[in-house]
């Protein structure tokens, strides 16, 4: 699962103004234009490396933090089959985190440093995981729609220019398709079940509607751009384009079950562009800067895992071994 990686105004300014060796840069850009992948040992602009680390790292954090809201329901899944599927899915998410940390490591930042930056709040994760999973129906909505949104994002990013990230994403997308199918199955069962089940699902849907619109980040009108990141195939689609693609794919699948979305303005325009009411971007900003319903708990749990189990790692450490950056 994954969210948005918009640049702050400051970051966009740095990316747009950094000057590189023109000859090497031209060669690098020609390579990307030809559709070649960039590999870890290759020359790359400083900002390419930095932005990729930032983006892949955020993605990795989102995977491991994303396992927490769903993990909440493992002990209370309604039956054994659902429980097995949920355990497998949560394991996948943590595995995806590891694959992504590995991809970011090839760029020169160690996994431990990334985990420390998550705990200190220096690096972010997807905002959507700062919301709680109140009922089992929230698990259906997360499995179907949050994963659906993440897949839109990840399929687009897997066409990027950095080899190790693309390879990790291909494996991830393959596994995510199981997440989506089991989420849809769960969603449909509740939607076609008893009145209590339907009501529970509708309420969960109402709760998740705004966070889902926030998922792809602020509107293109209000977010920072970098032509360079597009040219370098680090960012491949705009926030609004991805959000529109998500609404196009998933709104019909919600409506066909006789469910509703809590937005009277939501409709598909004749030009194929979805129109929706203001999803309260101030709330988005508030939650992303730390003031969401679950931000504190998520980081506290992560910190606990890191500290309570650290002795195991220390006992295993061989002081003679020297860490080197992974190869691919």
């Amino acid at each position: 699962m994954y969210g948005n990686t918009s640049l702050t105004a400051e970051e966009a300014k740095i990316v747009n103004s950094t000057v590189e060796d023109p000859e090497k840069l031209a060669e690098f850009e020609a390579r990307i234009t030809r559709g070649e992948k960039i590999e870890p040992g290759d020359w790359m602009p400083d900002q390419y490396r930095k932005q990729l680390i930032r983006m892949i790292e955020q993605h990795a954090h989102s995977e491991i933090v994303g396992a927490l809201p769903e993990g909440t329901w493992i002990t209370r899944a309604p039956n054994f089959r659902r429980k097995l599927a949920l355990i497998a899915k949560v394991q996948d998410e943590v595995g995806h985190g590891q694959l992504l940390y590995s991809a970011a490591e090839t760029l020169g930042k160690t996994r431990e440093q990334m985990l420390m930056d998550l705990l200190s709040g220096k690096s972010k994760y997807s905002n959507v995981f700062n919301y709680p999973a109140n009922t089992w129906a929230d698990i259906a909505v997360i499995g179907f729609l949050v994963d659906g949104a993440a897949i839109v994002n990840q399929v687009i990013n897997s066409k990027g220019s950095y080899g190790p990230y693309c390879r990790a994403l291909e494996r991830i997308c393959y596994e995510e398709s199981f997440h989506l199918k089991q989420g849809h199955d769960n969603f449909v069962y509740l939607a076609t079940g008893t009145k209590v089940q339907r009501d529970m699902l509708q309420e969960a849907l109402n709760r998740w509607y705004r966070p889902l619109l926030h998922f792809f980040g602020p509107s293109d009108r209000d977010s920072q751009h970098s032509e360079k990141l597009m040219k370098w195939k680090v960012k491949l689609a705009s926030n609004d384009d991805m959000r529109n693609q998500f609404l196009d794919q998933y709104v019909p699948k919600i409506l066909e079950l006789g469910l509703t979305l809590p937005d009277p303005e939501l409709r598909r325009g004749d030009d194929g562009i979805w129109v929706f009411g203001d999803p309260d971007w101030d709330e988005f900003k508030r939650v992303i800067s730390g003031d969401g319903p679950c931000n504190a708990e998520r980081l506290e749990v992560r910190r606990y895992s890191e500290l309570a189990h650290r002795w195991v790692r220390e006992a295993l450490m061989n002081p003679k071994e020297k860490y080197v950056t992974p190869l691919a």
């Binding site: 040992g41 002990t75 420390m116 494996r171 596994e175 890191e306 790692r313 450490m317 071994e321 190869l327």
Partner: protein
């Protein structure tokens, strides 16, 4: 209070005064063999302290789906590669057509010989 009973059972504050410093286990390159008789193919990496542990993590990470016959792990620092900037050392390889079976065409010569000698 968390919604997660497992989190409520943990004493989260217990570790809050701990110091966090970075320490790195080494990485291992993982090779995945899908079927007996096929080549092991590079799949990714794991972090581990020992080869046994690396294999255990590799099984969880790279053999969770589909078929697997075997896994190999090799410590990253034990892998030697060329520098990627030296890619041109391989450039002449496709030009050496004398190593290519399609380079050898004798039919024309045989036909000319047959015509000349009325065979």
């Amino acid at each position: 209070m968390s919604l997660d009973p497992r989190i409520n059972r943990l004493d989260l504050k217990r570790v809050n005064d701990g110091e966090i410093t970075a320490s790195h286990l080494v990485t291992w390159e993982v090779f995945h063999q899908e079927k007996r008789g096929k080549q092991p193919v590079h799949a990714g990496i794991v972090h581990a302290a020992t080869p046994e542990q690396a294999l255990m993590f590799a099984k969880e990470q790279y053999a969770r789906r589909g078929k697997t016959a075997n896994l190999w792990v090799v410590k990253t620092s034990d892998v030697y590669t060329f520098n990627s900037e030296d890619e041109e050392i391989f450039e002449t390889t496709p030009e050496k057509t004398f190593r290519d079976p399609a380079f050898y065409k004798v039919r024309e010569r045989i036909e000319a010989f047959q015509a000349k000698n009325k065979l």
